[in-house]
Amino acid sequence: MTAYIIRRVLYAVPIALGVSIVCFTLIYLAPGNPLQTLLPEDASAETVAMVKKAYGLDKPIPVQYLIWLGRAVTGDLGKSIASGRKVSEEIAKALANTMVLALGAIGLSFSLAFGLGVTAGYLNGSWADRVVTGIAVIGVSIPNYWLGMTLIIIFAVELQVLPATGMGPGGSSTFHIFNPQHLRHVVLPVVTLSMIPMGIIARTTRAAVAETLNQDFVQTLRAKGLKARTVAGHVIKNALPQILAVIGLQFGYLLGGSILVETVFTWPGTGFLLNKAILTRDIPVLQGVTLMLATFFVVTNLLVDLLQTAVNPRMQRH
């Protein structure tokens, strides 16, 4: 087991390095050269040379990458061109806000999808199964930015029971879980975000439960005369690693994929920050957010893999 953990962690290192290379390359994908965003057009050759030197742009690209990586590892992601603040500080604040949404959405989607999936898996082929499959397809096909807008129209414009946008009264940008005003703001974005994971978790749970029910040991348990409820406990325990893996993966997707929903609800999270960075062509922020979220995704995947192996040692990947 220890050997497996070490091997799996070591495998994640080159992936994380690859991710950092992709993020570093983003600067060179941007039209024009990085200097254009820093200097006025009529800057003299001397100024250009000076700024180039100050930013390390006079060195060969691989060296630039290593310097950038060294800084990134120690938490220095440069400064925002738009606000002048440290990118790492902006990201830390935004990440906490996105985390609120992602945790809420994963909790909500799991509690909805688990019941649905288990029911459908048990009643494989029945009308209930078809209804659940239908709900799951709707969940993954619905454009969540549109769903968010529709929910705003229904609950904020027509019924006026929930706030439309923002995170709290007066444009607050820190979340307080015990503040009822803040909790009211979190409802619509969380519901919106939970649709896709709900569909995917329900589908996976259904498949995992149906597959487990087909295994011989279930027959044996029933033949032994165990109560249906006890058998169900065994079935769910066996289906759990698969469900767990999907939940972890979906959590990573939620962190990285909340940009559309955050834009709809003007939620001051990483997605909103990313959108702002794109509009202002603030490449350091764009790069930093992408690097942070992708690294999070790699780590989440790693943790899920390890957790899965802990629950079911047969799942070890070679």
Binding site: G18, L26, P143, Y145, W146, G252, N275, I278, L279, N301
Partner: protein, 309 residues
């Protein structure tokens, strides 16, 4: 006398209706080829046919938008702005600049569907080729290609699409480029898995032993076996691609403003949800219908093409 044993069987009686007719050789059951089976299954899957019909309708209405649109989608009208459904010949009302919604939605389908479908096609050809090369060549080539793909796998798809098209500076072409890049790794992985499985089977070995060249082996044996899974997977990506493409437009990373596009329309109409809520939600309904129909169509195709079922 010839023994008429076969004529007594109920099968033959129902075949030619008369008892005691001159015996015919029982009709041999024609073996169905793989594609005939798939076609047979699809013809009898009415639900899938239905969704396919809707998809066809959406695609056709986008193609023939110039013929179907009742008005010029760019024609603004300062007086008739944000009018409700059915107002003075505007079946679906008018938008914030007084343009006919129905015409804009029809024309919008052209951009939205192109942005959704072209990346999947591009990614299928590039990712599929890379996957087959990796699977067939094996060893180092496989390692280099697949480990590179793993890196792109480490990005949530929307994040990668937004980051690339955001850096490139938006626009339809950059959006499609970004989406293609997002879909190459999963398609490559599917093609690689299928190729690796086929490559080690005995019949490929037999073909090689009987002197078949690389080209003929790849063409006849690898492609015919790897294309199925790749195609099924690609069809399931269209729905996702339409969603993300419209999402990019929604963020302002798609086409430039006067051009109609569902995602972009949703974005501009977002400002007026307090004035004309049902109008604002309309483009999203189309994105939803398109995405769900492609999704269900792909599920049907998967069921029909899955030989193990």
């Amino acid at each position: 006398m010839i023994h008429h044993g076969a004529a007594d069987s109920p099968a033959l009686q129902t075949l030619d209706g008369r008892v005691g007719a001159p015996p015919k050789a029982p009709k041999a059951l024609k073996a169905r080829s793989y594609w005939q089976t798939v076609g047979y299954r699809l013809r009898h899957d009415y639900l899938t046919l239905c969704f396919g019909g809707v998809v066809l309708l959406i695609v056709l209405s986008a193609i023939f938008a110039p013929l179907l649109a009742p008005a010029d989608p760019y024609q603004t009208g300062m007086i008739a702005r944000l009018k409700p459904f059915g107002y003075k010949g505007h079946l679906l009302g008018t938008d914030e600049l007084g343009r006919d919604m129905l015409s804009r939605l029809l024309y919008g389908g052209r951009v939205s569907l192109t942005m959704g479908m072209v990346p999947v096609m591009l990614a299928t050809s590039i990712g599929g080729t890379l996957g087959i090369v990796a699977g067939y060549a094996g060893r180092h080539v496989n390692m280099v290609i697949m480990r590179t793909m793993d890196v792109f796998y480490a990005f949530p798809s929307i994040l990668l699409a937004v980051a690339i098209s955001g850096t490139l500076g938006g626009g339809m072409r950059n959006g499609m480029l970004a989406l293609s890049l997002v879909f190459i790794p999963p398609l490559c992985r599917v093609a690689e898995t299928a190729t690796t499985q086929v490559r080690n089977l005995d019949f490929v070995e037999a073909a090689r032993a009987s002197g078949a060249g690389l080209r003929s082996i790849v063409w006849h044996h690898i492609l015919s076996n790897a294309l199925g899974p790749v195609f099924i997977y690609a069809s399931s990506l269209v729905s996702v691609s339409v969603l993300i493409a419209s999402g990019l437009s929604f963020l302002g990373l798609g086409v430039e403003p006067p051009t109609p596009d569902w995602g972009l329309m949703l974005n501009t109409l977002r400002q007026v949800i307090y004035i004309a809520p049902s109008l604002a939600a309309l483009p999203g309904v189309l994105i939803f219908i398109t995405s769900i129909c492609f999704n269900l169509l792909s599920d049907g195709l998967r069921a029909a093409m899955d030989i193990r079922m």
